[in-house]
Amino acid sequence: MTADITASSAADLSSALQSGELSSVDVTQAYLDRIAETDATIGAYLHVDAEAALAAAGAVDAARATGEELGPLAGVPLALKDVVVTEGVPTTSGSKILQGWRPPYDATLAARLKAAGTVLLGKTNMDEFAMGSSTENSAYQVTRNPWDTDRIPGGSSGGSSAAVAGGLAPWSIGTDTGGSIRQPAAVTGLVGHKPTYGSVSRYGLIAFSSSLDQAGPMTRTVLDAALLHEAIAGHDPLDSTSIDSPVPVLADAARRGAEGDLSGLKVGVVTELGGEGHADGYDAGVLARFAETVALLESLGAEVRQVSCPAFDLALPAYYLIAPSEASSNLARFDGVRYGVRVGDDGSRDLDEVMALTREQGFGPEVKRRIILGTYALSAGYYDAYYGQAQKVRTLITRDFTTAWDDVDVLVSPTSPTVAWSIGARVDDPIAMYAADLCTLPASLAGVPAISVPCGLSEGLPVGFQVMAPALADDRCYRVAAALEAAQDAARGHTFLAGMENTPS
């Protein structure tokens, strides 16, 4: 199985580990070898600690050898987006301002995954503070899409997407504020799920926009996503927005969905997201794959109808007011006093000046733009017209969802209007960059769960299909995505990722 380890699903690795067919050291070493071979090209990781990974893998193998009862995830390697705080392991959030910082504690989700026995391979590249859709805003390096290394891997969780698509990790954690799990998953051919807001703890995630940020799985299969989501979900008293309700049953929903029967399921196709009169900026190939996938849902028994959500037209402007406003406040903590970098403290400058110099040199241009925009939107005289108005639009978007749920069980759309674009094509045009989030923003603003599942190729590059569900009904996303995945895999005779040509080496 060694040759297949880096192409395997995490669920298959878990079975092989439990049966003793593979050891965790075997699996971990296979991934470390693959990272050593290909990451100079891909640039997925900001930090890899082979020694620590092999030690953790060895400890799992030793425990298993003594007959200790271990959970299903024990020994399975994993990559974490560098926004997740990890005790003693460098954590930068893609920013120079945190260069060299080794956090003194673990994020709740990192602690849960550690307790489950997963093996941390490393921390993945990202747009600085998760602000971006291409990972080009990282202060450290460019990350390349394994499908075509001249193209972006999406963002902001682009290191996580490239790692999993390129065989440099079996699965990974991303975070999604406006689409940063779903869009990179879509453009690299992965499954990516943004959980219901409040269902995965934000404790220890470096905050960007606190009313929107959610962590979730980025994986090769729908079942893997469900398994990883179950492992990180659940109430956390350390996050005051954490929902105190039982961990949802998701893996079973994925298994049931894979049986392929969607009879009785009511599906709404959102007109405003690529439908008639709203197709500007969408690739024809993306819309064609989307239409074919909607037809596939019908053939599996789903009832499909058009649903209009007029307020979704304003999701992009509302998001790009709300997120920068919250960011301008959240990023005030990076003042060069308690952690991270300090610049200009030569005895001649006072605190204000040192702070301004630290932030000038520590932050990249997109972070600065958003801090300035957020400061503007929150300032007296502008607050009502911008931030206040955006929050009311957020209410309208939530109302559109609530109205839709009277008639349908899930809403669907393309995940992103285009396939992966060429590296550099949008770096000087923030508006063009923001357009990549057009379809993912409504679910973010309303806090509802949404999944992206591969639905074919356009121009030889992956296209994602988005399934949105009511709050706390994440299981519906998994059920529908698993049905689509199973039907498409059966039709093409192999998994989606197995169709990647010119695997980078």
């Binding site: 932030r359 600065k368 005289g381 957020r394």
Partner: protein, 105 residues
């Protein structure tokens, strides 16, 4: 921000002022770049003004929760040396900071 400029416009001076409020020592080149880019972004986001929001309450948060309580029990905090190990400068078991008042104070 004493005199609001017309909607959708952000002058170079305003960007400089906002940068100062945000404790960002931006360069002249950045000011030139950001003023143009932010004007375009502001123009795009100003579309929120199109929405009819009479009688619509703002949404601050997707989950309607208020005043989340936990038992008032003291828990150990992180050890001081562990916290200070991550600081850019420490002295006598404390964060060392640049002077906070001007020379003449």
């Amino acid at each position: 921000m004493s005199t609001p400029s017309p909607k959708g416009q952000l002058t170079r001076d305003e960007v400089a002022h906002l940068a100062h409020l945000s404790r960002l020592a931006v360069s002249d080149e950045e000011l030139d770049l950001f003023a143009g880019q932010l004007a375009a972004v502001l123009d795009a986001v100003a579309q929120v003004g199109k929405a009819d929001v009479a009688d619509v309450a703002p949404t601050t948060h997707a989950v309607p929760m208020t005043n989340v309580m936990r038992p008032d029990v003291a828990r150990p905090s992180l050890p001081r040396d562990v916290v200070l190990a991550g600081a850019p400068a420490a002295e006598d078991g404390r964060f060392r900071v640049p002077r906070i008042l001007g020379e003449e104070a």
